[in-house]
Symmetry: C2
Amino acid sequence: MSATGAPDDELLARVFLTRVVEPGDEAGGRWVREFGAREVVRRLRDGGRPLPGVSARRWTGLRARAEQAEPHRDLAAAREAGVRFVCPGDGEWPGQLDDLGDARPLGLWVRGRPSLRMWALRSVAVVGARACTEYGAHMAATIAAGLAEQGWVVVSGGAYGVDGAAHRGALGAGGATVAVLACGVDRPYPQGHTELITRIADQGLVVGELPPGDHPTPSRFVLRNRVIAALTRGTVVVEAAHRSGSLATARAARRLGRHTMGVPGPATSGLSAGVHELLRTDAVLVTDAADVVELVGAMGELAPERRGPVLPRDLLGPATREVLAALPARRAAPATEIARSAQTSADDAVARLYELRALGYVERHGDGWKLTRQATTSLRGGRGPC
Amino acid sequence: MSATGAPDDELLARVFLTRVVEPGDEAGGRWVREFGAREVVRRLRDGGRPLPGVSARRWTGLRARAEQAEPHRDLAAAREAGVRFVCPGDGEWPGQLDDLGDARPLGLWVRGRPSLRMWALRSVAVVGARACTEYGAHMAATIAAGLAEQGWVVVSGGAYGVDGAAHRGALGAGGATVAVLACGVDRPYPQGHTELITRIADQGLVVGELPPGDHPTPSRFVLRNRVIAALTRGTVVVEAAHRSGSLATARAARRLGRHTMGVPGPATSGLSAGVHELLRTDAVLVTDAADVVELVGAMGELAPERRGPVLPRDLLGPATREVLAALPARRAAPATEIARSAQTSADDAVARLYELRALGYVERHGDGWKLTRQATTSLRGGRGPC
């Protein structure tokens, strides 16, 4: 958005392109990189020279799609559904998605209060089979809850089975979770997860590349996985048969230099066979949240809490500063107490606490939250109207 | 033995020392290497200069033990129990034990028909928890049976739990198995496995470092594990709690440059926790016999079958040559048919077939045995009185 609140041309062009170019289309990414989003839109809308490397037939197809694109209407529909569009250059854009090169999303539609950028900084993906066993659901929920308890954000795909168990595990622990969908974020998929995805949007984030109302396709599921892999510091696969999509997520994570982890299961279980295959070559064996944190927590370059707060508190948003000011000086407090003191809802307080966690200001302490030592030090002497 | 059938001095000296020096005692190994077994015995028996680095107190203790040693009696007792003593320099000595350096056994007491040297060439250890779960027993038996079906010799420790399941799995598949005991091989331990160990001695091999009648101690169990690790091409750990002895076997295998493998289990199972720990750092994940063979079969330098028979058939023992001659030219035959045709027992035929397997002459084929292509080629033109 521009300073006046009106969407700027770059953002509008990118919204336009989410209707024309499929997620992960590297040709589209290359055009945007070479000519800029606005020029690509201009050529698609007004005709003129076709983009390089596009057949006449494909060019006709793209232009037909472009004719249907109505970015102002999409943005209005999104606003109505409480959805914003975040794109490269925006303060909320998670920079690690740039690792995807030309397959980087044109932008992400985001539903939920917290800052996607902040949350993604300390996030781990927990993914796996839709048709998981009870063991798989148990492990997903337990690991996700453990990660949440240690202040990590659990990212998954909102699907049945392992994904759902991971989201629920994080929510159940009063923690943070992000669902990355392969369809419009205003359009929960699968339908049976409407309530879960609504809860995630209330307490966390629901994000996706596709514009409002758009539907999932098999290839969109596959390409969605690269976003999960790139957004997070590592991917944990809980149960996966041979040739499962979760294995693709894990391998994408590995290619991107993220940690790839697998939860072992009985050697007799077909739903662990894919994970075991992965563990033989491409992944580290983990059995609980502590194992996961031991790996992903060591990635110092993305771990600001190890170097103390990186963002001066003056740069925090006003609502986040309120929550920071609401933390007691010397003890841990539950999120509900902090919310009361900051005069906001518990969901909002948790969202801000996770932001503050990513910035090294606060840490989880049992069921509550407390200021970190670095925060106490850096706040000392000027804590008044924080 | 010397050509006259009387035990030679070297062998007698080593038998003597198995009564004096504990298994794996590196000081003992060093003395034997530096002075020769006979000189060490002479000093222990006749007094004279103590061995280097031995305290007066230890010297007294060793000499007291030496006073009790009666190697001729031990050899007679062994012969009575169908046990032979195999030591370095002997044709049956498995050369890979030399990798143990000064911790190399002084010799091994061996019960059973087959050649320990030949069987060890194509062997894999399958070890794990005594108090294993049904899952662990199932995996041990299945992997051992699969290895046996592919002509591999299954080595284990004869204990309850995983060890017993592995031995039984191999025997049940009509395959070859070796129990390495931490006590005299005439004295099955644990007592509840008397019948199993007797079956192993009938159909395979029971071996150990300790002289007839000697009993196991905790440290002897631990030191026995290095023999299992060194004897085999790789060690598979099926179930093991943290700090289990099987993990020590696996780590010994790794130090010796053998393959170290682990079978995953539920992350919730304490009896898989040790295996998972191993899999994180020191072992390759395997879920069935095919996984194991893929690893250990690749160790070309010990795999004569990949280069065709290495031993001219004239050098085979007469009984083994009989069995080789009994194999039909173009089809697979069951061991019972081969035994009939070679005029021997089925157990004996199986023992010889595994020897021939190690030498690349025969291979398992379903339930039967057939000549390998290399054998057919090398036998062609002179097959008559093979």
